[in-house]
C-alpha cells in the first residue's frame, strides 16, 4: 500500500485550557478527496490549519508525504512546499497585480525566472478561466474571481496536496458555482484535496471520504453513500437535516 499523502495520528490541541482537537485520526491517500463538515467551532478549520502548520498541535503526529511535522523549520518548510492552501477570505495581496500574486512564490521561494513563473501563472490562470484578468488588482475583481485567483496562486507552487478552508463561505450565492466548478475539475484531474465546506452537492460529487466533526472530535466518517444515506450518530443526523432542508 502506498504511503498516505496525509496522516494524522491522535492529534490533540488546546487553546489554553480549551481542548479544540481531541484525538484526531485522519488518513488521506494520494489523489483522494476528503470533505470535512460540521458546525462552527467544531475544530474543522483547525485540523486543516494544523496540516500546514499555521497552527501547532500539542500531541500526536502529523505526516505529509511521509515527512513528520515538527518544530524544526526545515520540516515546516518541506511540508509547506508540498501543501497549498485556499482561504475563506482569499487573502490575495492587494498591492500586487493578479499576475504578481501568482509569480511571487515561484520567483522568491522556488527561484524560478520571471519568464518561467509568468508562463506558469498564465497556464493556471487559464485553468481557472480568467487569463484576461492578469493585469488587474485583486480589488477590481469579483469575489468568485478573487477566489479563483487564490486557487491559481496555490497551484503555481505545484503542491501535492491542496487544502481548502471554507472556500465559498465568503462568496455571494451566484459566485459559488464558478469556484466549485474549478474545484471539481481539479478533483477530476487527480489532485489530493482536503476541503472544509458545507457545500454538500460538491461533497456528494467528488468526496472519497466524508468527515463530520463536532466539539473537536471526528464523530462520523465514511463514504458519501454511507454518510448521506445512513448517518449513524444523532449529532450528524441533526446537522445534515439542518443544512439540507433548504
Amino acid at each position: 500500500m502506498p504511503a498516505a499523502a496525509i496522516e494524522l495520528r491522535s492529534v490533540n490541541k488546546w487553546y489554553d485550557t480549551f481542548h479544540v482537537l481531541k484525538d484526531i485520526d485522519l488518513s488521506v491517500g494520494s489523489g483522494e478527496k476528503t470533505v470535512i463538515c460540521g458546525p462552527s467551532g467544531s475544530g474543522k478549520s483547525t485540523v486543516v490549519r494544523c496540516i500546514n502548520r499555521l497552527e501547532e498541535h500539542q500531541s500526536g503526529s502529523i505526516k505529509v508525504d511521509g515527512v513528520e511535522l515538527t518544530n524544526n523549520p526545515q520540516s515546516v518548510a518541506a511540508i509547506r512546499s508540498e501543501v497549498g492552501m485556499v482561504f475563506q477570505q482569499f487573502n490575495l495581496f492587494p498591492h500586487l497585480s493578479v499576475l504578481e500574486n501568482l509569480t511571487l512564490g515561484p520567483i522568491k521561494a522556488r527561484g524560478l525566472s520571471r519568464q518561467a513563473a509568468e508562463e506558469r501563472a498564465m497556464h493556471y490562470l487559464e485553468r481557472v478561466k480568467i487569463p484576461e484578468q492578469a493585469k488587474k488588482r485583486p480589488g477590481q475583481l469579483s469575489g468568485g474571481q478573487q477566489q479563483r485567483v487564490a486557487i491559481a496562486r496555490s497551484l503555481c507552487m505545484e503542491p501535492k496536496v491542496l487544502l481548502f478552508d471554507e472556500p465559498t463561505s465568503a462568496l455571494d450565492p451566484e459566485m459559488i458555482s464558478e469556484v466549485l466548478d474549478v474545484m471539481v475539475e481539479l478533483a477530476e484531474d487527480g489532485m489530493t484535496m482536503v476541503v472544509v465546506t458545507h457545500e454538500m452537492g460538491f461533497a456528494r460529487r467528488v468526496a472519497d471520504q466524508m468527515i463530520f466533526m463536532d466539539g473537536g472530535e471526528i464523530v462520523e466518517r465514511g463514504t458519501p453513500e454511507e454518510f448521506f444515506g445512513a448517518p449513524r450518530s444523532v449529532r450528524c443526523q441533526k446537522f445534515l437535516s439542518q443544512i439540507l432542508q433548504h
Binding site: 509547506r80 501543501v83 487573502n91 495581496f93 512564490g105 522568491k108 521561494a109 503555481c156
Partner: protein, 253 residues
C-alpha cells in the same frame, strides 16, 4: 528663493508699517546691499538644516524598522527588548541627549581606544536619528500590526520566509498606511534640528542668532527665521502628498 522672499516680505511690511517705530525691515531688505547680504547669510543655513534632517530621517526610519520587528515577535524576550528601547529613548529630552552625544560620547569612544571625533554635524544627525527612531519604531509596529493576519498566512503557504514575507507582502502595504505619521516625524526632525545651533552647527537658527547679536533686530530676523521653517515644511508636505498619490495611500481600500 529671492523671488519668493520678495513676495513674502511685503506681507510683513503691511503689518509692520502701521507702527513704524517697532519694525526695522531695513535689516533684511533685499533691495539694499547690506540687507541682501544679511538675507543671503540667513538663507544659506538652509543647506545644513536640510542635509542634517534628511540623513537623520533616513537613519531613523531604518533604525525604527529594526527596532519595531522584535516588538512583533511571538517570543516575550524579543518584545521586551523592543519595549526597553522605545521607553528609554523616547523619555530622553532632545537637548540633554544632544549634550550627551556631543560632549559625552567622544569620551566613551576615547576610553574604548577609538578615535572617532564627533563634530557638530554628526552630533546633530546622531541625536535626531536616535531620538526619533523610538517614535518611528512605534509607527512601524502599529502599521505592520494593522495588516490582516491572513496576509502573513497566505505568504507562508506560498513558501515565503519571514524576511520575504515582510519585504514583499507586509511592508509595502504597511508603508502606504504609515506615510502620513512618518511625514509628521520628518517635519518634527526638521524643526528639532534647530537645537543643533547650540553645539555650533551653522544651520538656520544659529545664523539668525548670530545676526541678531550684531544687528540688534530680533523681531525682524526671527520673523524671517520662522518663515524659512514654514517654507521648508510646506515643501515637505507637498512632497509627501505627491508620494501618497503615487503609492495610492490616499485611496481607501
Amino acid at each position: 528663493m529671492k523671488k519668493l522672499f520678495v513676495m513674502l516680505v511685503p506681507l510683513l511690511f503691511l503689518t509692520g508699517c502701521s507702527s513704524s517705530s517697532t519694525w526695522g525691515w531695513y535689516v533684511i531688505n533685499p533691495m539694499t546691499a547690506s540687507g541682501w547680504t544679511n538675507v543671503k547669510f540667513l538663507i544659506s543655513g538652509m543647506g545644513d538644516t536640510i542635509v542634517i534632517s534628511l540623513i537623520a530621517a533616513v537613519i531613523s526610519i531604518a533604525l525604527g524598522l529594526v527596532v519595531a520587528l522584535p516588538g512583533l515577535a511571538k517570543h516575550r524576550g524579543w518584545r521586551l527588548l523592543n519595549r526597553i528601547y522605545v521607553e528609554f529613548v523616547r523619555s530622553i529630552p532632545l537637548l540633554p541627549m544632544l549634550f550627551w552625544v556631543f560632549y559625552g560620547l567622544p569620551i566613551i569612544f576615547r576610553e574604548m581606544g577609538l578615535d572617532i571625533p564627533i563634530d557638530p554635524f554628526w552630533g546633530a544627525v546622531i541625536t535626531l536619528a536616535l531620538s526619533d527612531s523610538a517614535f518611528t519604531a512605534e509607527i512601524f509596529r502599529a502599521g505592520i500590526q494593522s495588516i490582516a493576519r491572513g496576509q502573513t498566512e497566505a505568504a507562508q503557504t506560498i513558501g515565503l520566509n519571514y524576511l520575504q514575507t515582510m519585504r514583499y507582502v507586509i511592508l509595502p502595504q504597511a508603508i502606504r498606511r504609515i506615510l502620513p505619521p512618518l511625514a509628521n516625524q520628518f517635519i518634527y526632525i526638521v524643526k528639532m534640528s534647530a537645537f543643533a545651533s547650540v553645539i555650533g552647527m551653522q544651520e538656520l537658527t544659529r545664523r539668525a542668532n548670530e545676526l541678531v547679536v550684531t544687528e540688534y533686530r530680533p523681531l525682524e530676523i526671527y520673523s524671517l527665521l520662522i518663515l524659512e521653517y514654514l517654507v521648508l515644511v510646506l515643501v515637505i508636505s507637498a512632497g509627501v502628498r505627491w508620494l501618497e498619490r503615487r503609492l495610492g495611500s490616499d485611496e481607501r481600500n
